[in-house]
Symmetry: C2
Subunit: 888 residues, 2 copies
């Protein structure tokens, strides 16, 4: 015989907290609390297996379930000393759903079940409070009618309002026992009207009705959608918890409350919670009455004159405190609990791990290690890496008022305020005068980099989570809201329009890159704190991590930021951003627009010293840590002028006419630049470009190695390789440059030549490519674009819809698509290491800073992840968690 | 002891024609001819293994090679009755290279080897012709000096010219023995000057010098490049053939010639060739003297007064004819042979399969089956499918003069002449007036379709082999030259510029889409012949084919063409082309530019009858053959107006202002449309579009099924699927539409819903997709773009360079890249059939008409290939060959 029902209460329980899959989270914890001797109202849990059975047998129950439920009910009756349906001394129960994980959308709770026209009288007599009994009955009809019978709840609310109007009162508390009795009549009539049959009077029928309603709610649309979005399997099912009612609304010695064992906002080790005397749980939540503080300290701190539980019920409070200590000791985590006091007796109704802010999570984890409650490893596992983002950036003061005028995508975390500027030049100019600036563009391009640097934050009207603005902003650690579609920017007029608002250049806005909100005016922010608990957790994380964490950094500034955040090297130094600075862009354009190799070489000779100086500075900062430099990647037209005046300037500098340049620029235009003449294809077509870059790298490395006496080992990375021949040709050329530089300088050093793996084809022939490569680095941005056939710049028009409709569970540009992109990464890694045993493999796409993707990289056996500077701590923590998960 | 040397001659040989890998093509055939009793000058072949040995041992020979060569030389001496290096009766030999496949770039031939200052006298005495002997000696020095010693050949030519000038003569024949003797002296001096040492007098030294020169030429740059381009492995190596000299230049009873056993141009079973009396082989090739015809008939036919071989040497001619018959009987193929007649005796110097035109290949294959020489299967294997293209399109009269003014890519085969038109509208207008038109555009877009239809041929300045122009032109069977970069079109001025030429609208040009040439004026063309031999071969091909051949056809016209070419169904009917016709485009634009679902539905309602009529017509033509219809694929902005006036027209039709439309159009613009909001993403975002299309398909199918009493089974294809959920959602919607239509019409029919597999991700999760699909069709164009990360529209800027530099051996848009795209196809097919056993899988990319790709598809076990109408016969033949190859 299968055991379908698990009883608990009176210090014993058939279940344990380990049985979460069978009993659901709530049921398992109720059993656990009971078995460690905490005061839990007796009850039983019907297992999740019944849910599966129910659906696989045409919504029926197994024959032996009734007997098991009856037996468990009998146990409750014995324990409580009351009888279900007994008109003199009725047992009332609550019925609650409870899946493995908390799941909004499903049926939640029915209280006071067992009441009917007869038992209500018994309750009145037993409690000595007629008003309480009829109030309980009407509450039951309302709840049961709504969630079990499907009677629209507004019907009940209207009936109540009508009654109050009729009686000339405004508060529920002003109604007396007779009023409630009358309301019960009205409620029953509503049920009769709606269903064409009376409200069920048989408590057993009520019970089975509620049980079926819980199982039925597993399959309603909202629950299905939630499961699909959260990857919860359909076959998990829910359990049902039936438990003796206890009443917090039986007078002044009764109460109900919710509490956290520590402050979920700050993490301080202080009891935190609220309670209400003479109330049921729903009253605390409903907000009709303002709950009181639990502790005297909290009351005084909150300048509140309502008596605290510590003061009002000192003995029960002491007992509650002991329960908290016992729970933390037992669960080794901060708990979120519900309790009820009935006539001075404390009952525990629920306990679970409490949700907390990132700051609290950090503090609690670190504190619990010092308290000896958990180990270092557990502390590392306890903090959600993604949540760290909140700590690394300024955040909006949660109490400050905000006037949200638009919402876009939360493209780069943190908050910032400043006057709007509509061009990069204006942003830079105003910033130089000390003004805080928010750069607002329709979308950004590489030409805007200097303005993005100068700005405190970036706002765009178009573009997704991985648009240029988003990627660059994250790299710089600037807050960014992208794709705020309701914004219209008129650059010429120097105005932006949002709804009814018109803003002029300089008008102040605030953006929150963690939520995507755009606010009018300045909203105060609070700074990040990176020492103390944060630093401690990072030390522990690094101790358990096996993958290295590098950074994607292109400028000395970013490089320094990343070092401060603990980056162990540069995994991706994009050389193209360097091309936009100051005078260089003219030389770059000269190079591109030259018709001859000779012309290109002249222009490149001008660029060489700039590039060399960039690398010198980066090598100095990284002090011998590995630096992976990617050779030029974007199509050349990205560097071309867009404005008429820029054409004129370049034409003048080159001594040719602007018309000629414009024609050449047009020739370079591409239909799909992402799939165009870029990456190593440029290196093949224009050998002189990569040769200049390689020379700049080697010269810089030799210089820094000499001055510091440190070993500099540059890692040169060739982008967009599709065939081993491309890499073979370019490798040879780079080696030749190295030999030339070494013999010119009379000094040699070690170096590596590797490649980005960012095309499906490269993963397929990774064994052959590996024979020409010293390392691989997965460029998962482009690999996602090509594997999925989705341009990240254009994805904004359908990707949100895809996520919303559940076609994709996540944006594949945020978290690695394991089935597609991930499968190719697995193939590429495996074949790469077949081609070259022990090949170093890393990742330098945006995904390198995403915790879920980092877990995946650990499972592939990658050597390192590389991410933008501000995500380095997140990656360190996620990598530690991945390593620890892998161990167990 | 390894056998390195194989002798032949006197009716016996140690080698056979099967030993091509060891002896090279020439050596194997010489051995074969000798062993079947044909008169072959005795000689020996040094095997290709020596070539490998030579390179793997620091360019040395194995010790036992010398003895084996000496022994073989002795055998020649015995056979000929002369002695190598003997001053009285010297043996002279030729030394020739000979790899497995003929390989230009390598050393070819040294004749008369063995001559020196002594043996030349013996030759003079023995032949009784002093002039002949000294002429032979000077030829030998010249050849040997050039190809073995590396003395610049112009030095010899200049010496000869100087001597003739000095003697006051113009023709070589005017020089006498003394003159040649003097020239020998001068030649030897040139060698001494160039090398600082004398011309080698020791025949053995000469022989080993020539042998080493042959082996050395295996590794010269030209040979390496040729091998890389033709996928010939480096380790094959070449053989060396050493053979007794025979002389065609020993007077009027001597001659030399080349011949084909059938006419290589027409395939007629007539001896075809040329010969020269009193000449050596090089004279025939050099073109100094005009060779004579072999047969009397050919002479008369060519209106030539020079005596034919048949007339001049009737007995030897008869012998030669018998040899031809014997060779064809033996090799069962048309042979390309070289022969020499020395003093009335016929010697065969070479035989090999003759190269031939497509027309000849066809005729010879069919004729040989009737002659009983080969089987049907062999005939099918004999014709190169790619060459059939020549037969299916009009070709330029090869004899007509042509003035080539530009060259582009041979984008769609066939030749056409007409007046140039620079817009689709002009092209259409002029065509309506009966003018032949060539549409000339910078590049074409879907808006140009009507102009492309109206034109005889298409010429573009930009775009590759798979640009829009190329793809559409091939589909339509219009000749097309794309990417003719030297052309500049000024649409406004109505002029085009090519080099120094300026052409006005209406000026006549001719394009050859098979060569990429653009010619001024009209060049006469010859029509295609599709009956007779062609039809016969197709019957045989179909008999042996296992894959079905379908066509990609969007219009009733294309559909009919394809049926005429033998298509067994439509594998890809693109519905988007239908959207451009006439009034429809306005409704399409209305639909796209609507802000609401309601507006879109109104516009779609207008489109429905058009679409239904299109499908009705196609179903009628296909008469129950399968028709795969792809739902809308391209991004919506492709349908938007580009010109100001078009915006105005649409705005008027919609009753909105043009500015609004322009803004909406701008919003739809994409950075990478290829990876943008297209394919099934449109179907997910705008359900009403696919619903309209599905309705049109089902309504049309029901109507045609009723009127013809035939079974119509539409196959609806969903493009660009990346996840199984996309297909699941759309499948459900299409099924709903089907049910609605069936119940409205009171009639049901079978249908299939399948998907294009054109994204790498789709191949990786093909098992899951297959569970929602009734069939797969590989869209290899897009699959190539995404796997390689190459946009076919932009590839023109580097793909030709890639092929030139050997990074890619072939354009992956022409022939499937087996290592990358092919690997994913294999995966997709295998996993697809795991997901659904026996899943029907086809291909509908451009590759479906490429013979090499068709072979690959056969190896994957595909059910069908689909290609443009004009490639259907090619595909039928290639599929037959693939099936036959697979069998053996």
């Amino acid at each position: 015989m299968t055991k379908w029902v698990y009883s608990f209460g009176d210090g014993v329980a058939e279940g344990t907290r380990e049985m979460r899959n069978l009993l659901g989270g709530k049921g398992a914890n109720l059993a656990e609390m009971a078995s460690i001797g905490l005061p839990v109202p007796p009850g039983f849990t019907i297992t999740t297996e019944i849910c599966s059975w129910y659906y696989s047998h045409g919504e029926r129950y197994p024959d032996d379930l009734t007997d098991q439920v009856e037996a468990a009910l009998l146990a409750i009756e014995k324990s409580v000393g009351a009888k279900f349906g007994d008109s003199a001394n009725p047992l009332l129960v609550s019925v609650r759903s409870g899946a493995r994980v908390s799941m909004p959308g499903m049926m939640d709770t029915v209280l006071n079940l067992g009441l009917n026209d007869e038992t209500v009288k018994g309750l009145a007599e037993g409690s000595g409070d007629e008003r309480f009994a009829w109030d309980s009955y009407r509450r039951f009809i309302q709840m049961y009618g709504d969630v079990v019978l499907g009677v629209a709840h507004h019907l009940f609310e209207e009936a109540l309002e009508n009654l109050k109007a009729e009686k000339g009162v405004t508060l529920d508390t002003e109604l007396d026992a007779d009023d409630w009795r009358e309301l019960v009549k009205l409620y029953k009539q509503e049920v009769q009207n709606a269903l064409g049959k009376p409200f069920p009077q048989d408590p057993k029928e009520q019970l089975w009705g509620a049980i079926s309603a819980v199982f039925g709610s597993w399959k309603i649309d909202r629950a299905r959608t939630y499961r699909r979005l959260h990857n919860i399997p359909e076959d998990w099912g829910t359990a049902v918890n039936v438990q003796a009612m206890v009443f917090g609304n039986m007078g002044e010695t009764s109460a109900t409350g919710v509490a956290f064992t520590r402050d979920p906002s700050t993490g301080e080790n202080e009891t935190y919670g609220e309670f209400l005397i003479n109330a049921q749980g729903e009253d605390v939540v409903a907000g009709i009455r303002t709950p009181h503080h639990l502790t005297k300290a909290a009351r005084e701190n909150g300048k509140c004159d309502k008596v605290s539980m510590e003061e009002a019920m000192p003995e029960v409070y002491q007992e509650l405190s002991r329960v908290f200590a016992r729970l933390e000791q037992h669960y080794c985590d901060m708990q979120d609990i519900e309790f009820t006091i009935q006539n001075g007796k404390l009952w525990m109704l629920q306990t679970r791990s409490g949700k907390r802010t990132a700051k609290a999570a950090l503090k609690i984890a670190v504190d619990m290690v010092s308290e000896g409650l958990i180990s270092e490893e557990e502390a590392v596992m306890r903090v959600d890496p993604a949540a760290l983002d909140q700590l690394l950036h300024p955040t909006l003061d949660p109490k400050a008022p905000r006037n949200v005028i638009a919402t876009g995508l939360p493209a780069s975390p943190g908050a910032a305020s400043g006057g709007v500027a509509f061009t990069a030049d204006v942003a830079e100019a105003r910033a130089k005068e000390g003004e805080a600036v928010i750069l607002v563009r329709v979308e950004t391009s590489p030409e805007d980099i200097h303005g993005m640097h100068a700005a405190r934050g970036i706002l765009t009207a178009r573009g997704g989570m991985t648009s240029h603005a988003a990627v660059v902003a994250r790299g710089m650690g600037r807050p960014c809201v992208s794709g705020a579609g309701s914004i219209r920017v008129d650059v010429k007029a120097g105005k932006m329009y949002v709804g009814d608002h018109t803003l002029n250049e300089g008008d102040v806005i605030t953006i929150d890159g963690s939520t995507g909100e755009v606010m009018l005016g300045e909203v105060p922010t609070t700074k990040a704190e990176l020492a103390g608990d944060f630093a401690q957790l990072m030390i522990w994380a690094d101790r358990h991590r096996t993958m290295a964490v590098r950074t994607n950094a292109d400028t000395p500034f970013d490089t320094q930021t990343a070092r401060d955040f603990g980056a162990e090297g540069i995994g991706l130094c994009r050389t193209e951003h360097m091309f936009f600075d100051g005078d260089r862009i003219t030389a770059v354009r000269h190079m591109i627009l030259s018709d001859s190799e000779e012309g290109r070489k002249q222009a490149l000779a001008k660029l060489l010293p700039y590039q060399r100086d960039d690398f010198i500075e980066i090598f100095r900062i990284m002090r011998g840590l590995p630096v992976t430099i990617r050779l030029l990647d974007p199509p050349l037209h990205e560097f071309l002028p867009r404005e008429e005046k820029d054409f004129a300037a370049v034409a003048k500098a080159m001594g040719v006419n602007a018309e000629h340049l414009r024609r050449r620029a047009e020739e370079l235009t591409e239909s799909n630049p992402m799939l165009g003449h870029r990456g190593c294809r440029l290196g093949i077509a224009y050998p002189e470009i990569y040769e200049m870059q390689a020379r700049a790298i080697f010269e810089a490395a030799v210089i820094v190695a000499a001055e510091k006496g440190e070993t500099i080992t540059p890692e040169i990375m060739v982008p967009l390789v599709a065939t081993e021949i491309e890499l073979g040709i370019l490798r040879k050329r780079i080696e030749d440059v190295a030999e030339n530089v070494f013999s010119e300088k009379g000094s040699r050093l070690e170096y590596m030549i590797g490649t980005m793996i960012e095309l499906p084809r490269a993963t397929l022939i990774a064994d052959r490519i590996a024979q020409k490569a010293d390392f691989f680095s997965f460029g998962t941005n482009d690999l996602t674009q090509t594997t999925f056939g989705i341009s990240r710049d254009d994805a904004g028009s359908f990707l949100p819809l895809y996520v919303e409709k559940g076609v994709l569970t996540r944006d594949p540009f945020v978290s690695i698509d394991r089935d597609g992109v991930g499968a190719l990464m697995a193939l590429g890694t495996e074949r790469g290491r077949i081609g070259k045993s022990g090949l170093k493999v890393g990742i330098c796409g945006e995904h390198g800073g995403d915790p879920d993707s980092i877990h995946f990289c650990q499972s592939l056996g990658l050597d390192y992840v590389s991410c933008s500077p501000f995500r380095v701590p997140i990656a360190r923590l996620a990598a530690a968690q991945a390593a620890l998960s892998g161990k167990s």
